[in-house]
Symmetry: C2
Subunit: 241 residues, 2 copies
């Protein structure tokens, strides 16, 4: 089995934004779909993990886009494992358009948790090492994101039915969608997101009362957070161009 996985998507017109381009949140869905299937085909997917009472959880994600495909466009998404440690494995992605031109990269960090305790568990490093491949992913690795939630008021949000994933938790991609909804429409009309980075700190649950925070730390550079009871459940950083 190839170490590098290739998944193709078509940008569905009903899943684009008001500009007719694919949303960053939908690109996130593509990433997770590719990661899940790449893992499943190589014996460490959702079902294999469940058998061992474990599950993958996304810990960090960074996406850099030079361009956003529009309605009807074909997207090829390559994914591969870059490294594996005892607690975390890193997976990279490359977005290629219908003409073979690369238009974006992403980096992700995953942990495995014990389903019963929801605590981190040790990875099968030897098994994961079989699939590690050296392939360029020329974007910065996700790093620690400084808190902003104490410095700026939050917008309240309660977790709803449409926010939940198959595990009954706030869907990883919905964190992104709710954060991006904090930006004014004018910004989306004039600019594009060049880099988006998120660190997941804890799981959102149905009915949980959240607050959404955003602060411009320098021109076109934002730090964000989602909190529950004053404690961050994720932090994010967005750079516009």
């Amino acid at each position: 089995m190839d170490k590098v996985g290739l998944f193709t998507f078509t940008v569905e017109p009903y899943l684009t934004d008001f500009r007719g381009q694919v949303t960053l949140a939908m690109l996130g869905n593509y990433l997770i779909h590719a990661a899940s299937n790449h893992a499943a085909c190589r014996g460490f997917g959702f079902d294999d993990m469940t058998e061992n009472h474990t599950a993958w959880v996304l810990s960090r994600l960074a996406i850099e886009m030079q361009d956003y495909p529009r309605s009807g466009a074909s997207v090829s998404l390559y994914t591969w494992i870059e490294g594996a440690g005892k607690l975390f494995t890193s997976r990279c992605f490359e977005f290629v358009d219908g003409k073979g031109k690369t238009f974006g990269y992403a980096r992700s960090v995953w942990a495995a948790i014990d389903i019963r305790t929801r605590r981190p568990t040790l990875l099968d490093v030897e098994e994961l090492n079989r699939y590690i491949v050296e392939r360029p992913c020329p974007i910065a690795t996700p790093k620690k994101i400084p808190p902003v939630e104490a410095q700026v008021n939050g917008i309240p949000y309660t977790v709803k039915y449409s926010d939940l994933d198959i595990n009954g938790h706030l869907n990883s991609i919905k964190y992104i969608e709710h954060l991006l909804d904090l930006f004014d429409l004018e910004r989306f009309k004039q600019k594009q997101i060049e880099r988006f980075e998120i660190a997941y700190l804890s799981e959102g649950r149905y009915g949980m009362e959240l607050s959404l925070h955003s602060m411009e730390v320098s021109s076109d550079h934002y730090r964000m957070a989602i909190c529950n009871d004053g404690k961050a459940i994720c932090r994010a950083e967005v750079v516009w161009k």
Copy 2:
């Protein structure tokens, strides 16, 4: 060109709900996608309408589902025109699963508006009549839905970036998503939506402050509304089983 259009979809795992089944909102996306493409292939699609400074707007929609396909399932969606009048045309849909079994129907009513005035405009009945076909669609036609907004308090909601369609208005499907989010999670765990019906009354815009209303009129039968400034922009009716 065939009068009946056939469109196929695969239920993407990342677009299912916490039960692993396709959401009613996503079925709505499939319907609109099928309707748009069926019209476009027959010379009365989005681009043809834009040339005449007109646009299709969805006026009413009723969906009845016996079953909801799950992640990975294949969905065949048939659509055809049932009738056309001076101001409205009615279009039907049939959902068929991978084994050829019908699991749902839908009915929709569309108007054309002048893009500049946003007022209704006359349809080209002669042209539409060429495509009318008699084919059974054994569900009740959408009817007038009584108001409930004066009898029950609303939940506030402000229209966001992720709510907007390509025209910059509140996406028709987002009306449905926000209404269904009013139901408690326990209901989704125990029951299914048997029939959903919505009447669109006016367009939602970015930043508009809405209120979401829901009232149980008899067991498992709800009437709903979305209002702006006390005036309904849509009314809906939901029957659970």
